[in-house]
């Protein structure tokens, strides 16, 4: 059995829960932490014998506002948006509760938050310096795409590629199964290589652009980000999702998030478009409009 890291200072009851989790983890084929509430489950298979993950899925955690514990909060412009702009409260999806930032990075995260709704695109060199990329309708990267408040669809066929199509910004990513080649270049949605470990789809993601954020609270990373995602079916309607996040430029150690993805069950439900460029253009470019003669 593996030891609980010593630096984790939490009540004994939580330690017991964590111990139970590690016990569960240590036996092969058991469901992961996010599946604690679920009894043992053997998922249906595709014709090649792997668990069938096809479907439209959505997270219902509020991590897009903040990965860590957060109270309900006003939006950045309450005088304009009122309660429309406000965000819901939510519990941390980070194992241990806190993201292990290096001291400078914690200060940077706070600065990000204070500037989350500011943009300045008038200088190419500082194009990405200000503002939450979500505000600017940039592709959200991984793992943020998995817990944004939008559905996504997994398309798993008989080729060596699994597609994940996200409603937000029409972002897509291809998971290359059992792929050897490293990321040829950084991309907003990264370079995803998948493999099966028992009933779990494990996706190793590198080649991520450094500019994406994890949430609206300013949580961030560098282009050295390495994410390992684990998708495990735990019922016909749920996937347990876990991601291990590693970035030695920003964090003191790897850390982990977990939550549950829900299958969307509405009849004839389909992914719709959330092409948000037209919703952010005024913010980005409005100041450069011709001022007279219109």
């Amino acid at each position: 059995m593996r030891k609980v890291p010593r630096r984790v200072m939490v009540p004994a009851s939580v330690l017991v829960l964590i111990a139970v989790f590690w016990l569960a983890r240590s036996s092969e084929g058991q469901s992961p932490r996010g599946s604690g509430q679920f009894p043992a489950y053997r998922p249906p298979r595709t014709m090649d014998g792997h668990p069938d993950l096809n479907g439209i899925w959505q997270a219902f955690v509020t991590a897009n506002w903040d990965l860590q514990d957060h109270e309900a909060q006003a939006g950045p412009f309450p005088e304009l948006m009122g309660a429309y702009g406000a965000g819901p409260a939510g519990q941390s999806i980070v194992e241990g509760g806190e993201i292990p930032y290096q001291p400078w990075a914690l200060a940077k995260k706070k600065e990000n938050y204070s500037q989350r709704a500011k943009v300045d695109v008038t200088n190419d060199g500082k194009w990405h310096d200000l503002g939450d990329p979500e505000l600017k309708c940039y592709m959200p990267g991984v793992p943020r795409a998995a817990y944004m408040p939008f559905p996504f669809q997994i398309v798993q066929g008989s080729s060596p590629y699994i597609l994940i199509a996200y409603e937000f910004a029409s972002a897509t990513r291809t998971i290359r199964m059992n792929w050897k080649d490293e990321a040829p270049i950084d991309a907003w949605m990264g370079w995803s290589r998948g493999r099966w470990e028992g009933d779990t789809l494990v996706v190793d993601v590198t080649g991520l652009r450094g500019e994406t954020w994890f949430d609206r609270a300013g949580d961030f990373h560098s282009s050295a980000l390495h994410v390992v995602e684990r998708y495990t079916p735990v019922s016909p309607y749920h996937l347990a999702y876990e991601a291990t996040i590693e970035d030695p430029n920003v964090f003191t150690r790897p850390w982990k998030i977990s939550f549950v993805l829900y299958r969307r069950m509405e009849k004839n439900l389909q992914l719709l478009e959330f092409k948000c460029v037209p919703f952010t253009e005024e913010l980005l470019y409005g100041a450069m409009r011709k001022r007279s003669g219109r």
């Binding site: 595709t46 014709m47 090649d48 096809n54 695109v121 008038t122 190419d124 194009w127 990329p133 309708c137 940039y138 592709m139 669809q153 398309v155 798993q156 066929g157 008989s158 080729s159 590629y161 597609l163 199509a165 029409s170 972002a171 897509t172 990513r173 291809t174 040829p184 270049i185 991309a187 907003w188 949605m189 500019e211 004839n268 389909q270 992914l271 719709l272 478009e273 092409k275 460029v277 037209p278 253009e281 980005l284 470019y285 409005g286 450069m288 409009r289 011709k290 219109r294």
Partner: protein, 349 residues
């Protein structure tokens, strides 16, 4: 089976005199790809769940023009001795590494050979003179007279384009949808362009998904006969439903938004119909055929066929980001404001 049907329709549409005039082979001319391998040697693959298998990364680049160039008349297929010249002329007109247009034209050729998809400089293997196969003249049919509203919209659009071309756009909203990175070549019908002509097709039971390289959207096509979205739920890329007819994936798309530039030829979204057909005709080839019609726009329906070629598996399709680093849109606006300060105006024609 489409594999049989393809050469048959091909020859039927060919001018027989052109075929009769074929030069004998063996003269070192470009390979006549007109002769397909024996049909019996190849069976269209099926997915494990029984659908025709279209999975893979495909490329639709060709220099063969959508519409037949003038001066060729009704000749639908080139004679062998015409192939090289036709292809060279098209390549010359498409290429941008030229310095024969003066400085302003040079600037507009900044997307030079570095960007050019090499496949874009080659005509289709069947040596057709246009991608349009119907009407027989290879041209988009005549347009019907525009309504006054449409005329007004066209005039406003033309003025915006003139401002853009003069480097004097008033605002981002009058730039085209591709410049704004809202939709690009992911909008049907799929037509070849200078770069990023790849499409990755994914399939799962009940779905076909087409992932165009530009701009990273997924066209998710349900095959379960469900109804289209309601009429007030419109999308930039429309709403697609599909079915297999034999070997052919047939898809129909409705619910397009009414913004300028969403639909080819700015046809009327209420009366526009587009049907696309995908048929795997060889291990490395799909026939992509589309028919569009709109009685408010064209005098008759028209159909084009574009070959899709499977790319080398070692050649991957990469993410095409657009809006995320759309520096150009800022440079264009900044340039316009500077030009205004300098007293520049849009040239009147």
């Amino acid at each position: 089976m489409k594999w049989i049907a393809f050469p048959v329709t091909f020859f039927v549409t060919v001018s027989w005199t052109a075929l009769a005039g074929q030069a004998p082979a063996g003269t070192g001319k470009p390979k006549p790809a007109k002769t397909p391998p024996p049909a019996r040697a190849w069976t269209a693959p099926r997915t494990p769940w029984g659908d025709p298998d279209l999975q893979g990364v495909w490329n639709d680049a060709t220099s063969t023009p959508l519409q037949r160039p003038g001066g060729i008349g009704d000749q639908q297929v080139l004679r062998d001795e015409e192939v090289a010249g036709f292809q060279d002329d098209l390549a010359y007109n498409l290429t941008r590494d030229r310095r024969d247009g003066g400085p302003e034209v040079d600037v507009n050729r900044a997307y030079n050979e570095h960007w050019m998809d090499a496949r874009r400089l080659k005509i289709t293997a069947d040596h057709r003179t246009s991608l349009i196969i119907d009407p027989p003249d290879g041209r988009i049919p005549p347009t019907v007279p525009l309504t006054p509203e449409k005329q007004k919209a066209r005039a406003a659009r033309a003025a915006a384009v003139a401002r853009f071309n003069a480097g004097l756009p008033n605002e981002h909203q009058e730039m085209s949808l591709p410049v704004r990175c809202i939709i690009r070549t992911d909008s049907p019908p799929y037509l070849p362009t200078i770069y990023n002509n790849d499409f990755q097709i994914f399939q799962s039971p009940g779905y076909v998904v087409i992932g165009p390289e530009m701009i990273h959207s997924a066209r998710i096509i349900p095959l379960d006969s469900r109804p289209h979205l309601g009429p007030t739920l419109r999308q930039w890329l429309g709403d697609t439903r599909g079915r297999f007819e034999g070997q052919t994936l047939v898809i129909e798309t409705t619910n397009f938004r009414s913004d300028e530039g969403v639909i080819f030829g700015d046809a009327n979204p209420a009366t526009y119909r587009i049907t696309e057909r995908f048929t795997r005709v060889a291990a490395d080839a799909i026939d992509y055929e589309f028919t569009v019609e709109d009685p408010m726009t064209w005098t008759r329906p028209w159909t084009a066929r574009i070959p899709w070629t499977k790319i080398d598996p070692a050649e991957q399709m990469y993410e095409y980001a657009c809006h995320e680093d759309n520096y150009d849109i800022v440079h264009l606006l900044a340039g316009a404001r500077t030009r205004e300060k300098n007293g520049e105006t849009v040239p009147q024609k």
